[in-house]
Amino acid sequence: MGPMLTVARRELAGYFATPVAYVFIVIFLVLSGALTFTLGGFFNRGQADLQPFFNFVPWLFLFLVPALTMRLWAEERRLGTIELLLTLPLTQWQAVWGKFLAAWAFCAVALALTFPLWVTINALGNPDNGVVLAGYLGCLMVAGAYLAVGAALSAATKNQVIAFVLAVAACFLFAAAGSPIVTDFLSTRVPALAELARAVSVTERFNSFARGVVAARDVVFFASFIGFWLFLNAVVLDHRKAD
């Protein structure tokens, strides 16, 4: 536990020591706000809920989260600090989870800073705050899923641009897997794959969170999704750390 949290703490402080944190948070807030009020029709819907906001979060994270994870391991390899970190007395797991937790906590901060939206709907009407909370939990789950994918891909390359592009592509796969375009296409041709696509879809599960349903199987899905990709991260790291 100790070394893991120490790694997480250093990593999180690192975000705020460079402009990364501020750029990320500002862009996230501006884009999510703008999309919620324009395309989302926040006021025109006449409903006091955050549905228009939640609809856009997974798609924003699709680009912003890989921007966060691309430097996670690639930067350590470029600087050579990976050699320092992995020769300190900590297990590979502690390093992998420490970095992941730092990035996750950072996403939680960015999400928490959207609180003016929550204040707004509470001032305008009587929203179901349980549903709102479930929606935020869902956002955090999606962030965790994308972070784990991005972290594993960042461990595979020294080049941050490659890490970013690969992570966006991989996350898009899991974001789009449950969309009607993909499932309709697959169900007419390869029905077996359509089921699979729906099963691994991140957006599908997020939508039930956004509707206020926190189902155990969805939580288990995200937990195992994150666990799987971080396991992959450790394996890739072990094989490629010294290249």
Binding site: G2, P3, T6, V7, R10, A13, G14, A17, T18, L79, G80, T81, E83, L84, L86, T87, L88, P89, L90, T91, D238, K241, A242
Partner: protein
């Protein structure tokens, strides 16, 4: 080799048949040696001879293709964390996190090494005193000169007063005065530790090492106290060139 280790204690560093291949290329080829307490081993060889790879394997960063190593009795494969606790390692190029301050960086390392509170502050202060870093303690590492960066790396390796030190080119980039300081520091610590340093500077070997190993193409060519490597009328440099060039031609 020397009597410092005592008759019954195992050597602090034991390397047995270490081999590392990268594809068809063998970087380190069946290297075995031990280093006992009180010894300062100079690791010499041309660039690409396998010095850094050997040190990286010892530090648990590169996984050996074959063979094993023990640090203070802990096997690097079976008990990596225990082995790393007993080791202070300065990686090649002395990598550090550029955005951190010197104090922040050393505190991070101390915390991973399990120090807390007053002990942590003491350890960090002692490491900075040993490497003369007090003047720059609050400066971000990226603003420091090459010599200071190298000393931050050194401070990080010494911080927990480990029984085993593995230093990859500890004096690279330092000016003559700083080189002298680091050599003095190594000499001062030597009686209590087993130390391996790699270097290109042959005078450094004569100045601080009790023993020298010359390696080329992944194999050990010579293993003896520096003065025994010298033959009448030859400098250490001539011996080094003869040994390593003959090996490369073969």
């Amino acid at each position: 080799m020397t009597a410092h280790g005592g008759p019954n204690l195992p050597a602090l560093i034991e390397i047995e048949h270490l081999t590392r291949r990268f594809g068809a290329f063998t970087a380190v080829d069946d290297v075995s040696f031990t280093v006992e307490k009180g010894e300062v081993l100079g690791f010499l060889g041309p660039n690409g001879a396998g010095k850094s790879t050997t040190m990286k394997m010892l530090a648990g960063f590169v996984t050996p293709t074959a063979g094993t190593a023990r640090i203070a009795g802990h096997d690097i494969a079976d008990a990596p964390v225990a082995a790393k606790r007993a080791l202070g390692f300065l990686p090649e190029g002395a990598p550090t996190y550029p955005e951190m301050t010197v104090t922040g960086f050393l505190q991070f390392v101390a915390r991973i090494r399990g120090f807390r509170g007053a002990t942590l502050d003491e350890k960090v202060a002692a490491a900075m005193a040993q490497t003369q870093l007090e003047g720059v303690r609050l400066q971000p590492i990226e603003t420091l000169s090459k010599g200071f960066k190298r000393r931050v790396g050194l401070a990080q390796a010494l911080l927990h007063d480990p029984p085993v030190l593995v230093l990859d080119e500890p004096t690279d980039g330092l000016d003559p005065n700083q080189k002298h300081e680091v050599r003095e520091l190594i000499r001062r610590m030597a009686p209590e530790k087993a130390i391996i340093i790699s270097t290109h500077i042959l005078e450094e070997v004569e100045a601080v090492c009790t023993r020298a190993i010359i390696i080329a193409r992944g194999r050990i060519l010579a293993d003896a106290p520096p003065r025994d490597l010298l033959r009448p009328g030859h400098t250490l440099e001539q011996v080094f060139r003869e040994l390593t060039l003959a090996r490369e031609a073969a």
